[in-house]
């Protein structure tokens, strides 16, 4: 009889099993965590040259602090190995031959004030851009989210936001005012960008999100608008989304979409696929690209993930390319 009741005795007594996983900090406590990618890339252009390299595209160091009952703060440092593709490395430049190819930037640094809005927070500082899938993409594939890959938007920016949940868990919302230049650049004009997103879950597993972003670009203050609509579906071990994306930069209109799906085959193994189509300027010729990605994720050990991806890039005016990537991600 007793053997049928599998009680995790020690863990129950100490109560530590889930406490660490839920990361519920008490006032005055802080937590240090982060992750690192180590990647191998082999790229072969159709009828052209091939390149391959090892790289460390990202190291994230994160601190989370609970300053008061409803006041939290978070800081994330992003270290990156900048060239990570031989094509971007200009060997002819004498200065490039000796530079340390690393940079460190602050990705997030914000304060959350949770005492003013029920189920919501006022967020002050360098924070996510609440748009499309760029703020929720957790890299089930090695490639960035479509808007990040196509540089439609920066994934983080400096400003003030309000984020929160719709009662009973039927959705969430975010509204923020940013510099509009992204986290790697200083403000270059007097205009501020405004970004808003709302997600609703009409039925469990089906999420709809609409996002809009408007601002001025560069010192000329050219109009810059972005729109995204996302439909997500999740059930059991399956999840997927479809994102439609539109960009307007002055008179230039771009658009495209991204379709993604993944499935957990076992507790440790999952497969994923994505198709992107993007046209940076619909009125101009030769700006359309297509991207096909397929891959799998395997948990090598606790907090160690192996990712293997094949990616096909079809470009209208440049050579098409086949890219293979193998990456380990270890987090702590």
């Amino acid at each position: 009889m007793r053997k049928l009741i599998a009680v995790v005795g020690v863990l129950f007594l100490t109560g530590t099993i889930w406490v660490s996983n839920t990361s519920a900090l008490d006032v005055g406590e802080s937590e240090f965590y982060g992750y690192t990618w180590v990647r191998y890339t082999y790229e072969q252009e159709d009828g052209g040259e091939s390149e391959n390299e090892f790289s460390i595209p990202r190291v994230y160091l994160r601190w989370k602090m609970k300053l008061d009952d409803k006041v939290d703060a978070k800081v994330t440092l992003q270290m990156e190995n900048k060239h990570y593709a031989q094509s971007k490395y200009d060997a002819e430049k004498e200065s490039n031959k000796s530079i340390a190819d690393w940079s460190t930037v602050v990705k997030y640094a914000y304060l959350d004030l949770g005492q003013y809005i029920p189920d919501g927070k006022i967020r002050i500082g360098l924070q996510k851009t609440y748009f499309g899938v760029i703020d929720t993409w957790e890299y089930p594939l090695i490639e960035k989210a479509l808007e990040d890959k196509q540089k439609v938007l920066a994934s983080a920016d400096l400003g003030v936001g309000v984020v929160g949940y719709i009662p009973a868990g039927f959705g969430e919302y975010a509204l923020a005012v940013y510099n509009g230049t992204g986290y790697k650049h200083i403000e270059d004009n007097d205009a501020k960008a405004v970004c808003g997103s709302i997600s609703v879950i009409p039925t469990p597993g089906f999420t709809l999100r609409a996002s809009a972003y408007t601002g001025k670009k560069n010192e000329n203050e050219e109009d810059m608008r972005r729109y995204a609509t996302v439909a997500r579906f999740a059930k059991g071990d399956f999840s997927s989304f479809f994102e439609y994306l539109r960009s307007e930069d002055g008179d230039k209109n771009g658009g495209g979409y991204s379709v993604f799906a993944d499935y957990d085959l076992t507790e440790k193994l999952s497969i994923a696929g994505r198709f992107d189509r993007w046209d940076a300027d619909k009125d101009a010729e030769g700006k359309e690209t297509k991207c096909y990605i397929a891959g799998f994720n395997y948990d090598l050990a606790r907090n160690v993930l192996l990712q293997v991806n094949y990616q096909r890039e079809d470009k209208e005016t440049k050579s098409d390319a086949n890219i293979w990537r193998v990456q380990t991600k270890f987090s702590w």
Binding site: M1, L4, I5, A6, V7, V8, L11, F12, L13, T14, G15, T16, I17, W18, V19, N21, T22, A24, L25, D26, V27, G28, D68, D69, D119, Y165, I166, P167, A168, G169, F170, G171, E172, I201, P204, G205, F206, T207, A231, R232, F233, A234, K235, G236, D237, F238, S239, S240, F241, F242, Y244, Y257, V259, A261, Y263
Partner: protein
Amino acid sequence: MKKIIAGLTGVMLLIGSALPIMAGGSKLVLTGSTTVFPIAQKTAEVYCDNHPEVEISVRGGGSGGGVAALIDGTCDIANASRPMKTKELFKARGKGIDPVAHVIAMDGIAVIVHPENSMDKLSMVQLKDIYTGKISNWKRVGGKRGVIVVVSRDSASGTFECFNKMALKKEKVRPDALLQASNQTVAMTVSKTPGAIGYVGIGYLSPQVKALKVNGVNPSKRTVSNGTYPIARPLYMYTDGKPKGLTGRFISFIMSAKGQKLVEEVGFVSVK
């Protein structure tokens, strides 16, 4: 473009709905609240006695952990001593989980001190002042001179959430409070520390600690049941949707007269 969007969305929905949903089988995993743990353990034992083909795994770890496990699909039933938060409901719904709450018992949160402490009662105001740090000596509330050692639960605990809401009116606990991860460790710490004060579910009362009256009312099944004890709350089991198969049969068993009798046996208050 509209056709493509509609087509792709349709395909996604079709693929998703055709995939196998977690099967019931003869195994059941319950995870979560340490307060609900004795109820889950006792009812699981009796259920397995009557159904030898069934395996039931009962784990503790706190309400937050149980809810997280339900969302991740690593348990069938999440035990919780508080209702799910909006953030948790959002995460669950986004992952295709439809959390359904089952109130399986009522509980009182008993305020406990060392057995040799001369105190036998506190008002709600005094309790709040002690936990928020306004009062730090037993003499201030009618006891013998001595520093009050405040023992509380970590913030992942549903018992903490309820105590914080009902007794402290959401004010913060004094920063030097000793934080414990379970009802048992709170009781153990208080039983070994003469100046300590703590709080546990009434199912965890024992001769090793002394329960205080709150606003003149003893924490007991009767006072929780009749609503006179001021720090009382429902206890929950959460399932994904209306429970079916083994999960449904187990929940029905707990809600039955026999199950509710077991709830009473382990020191909690029946809901029927």
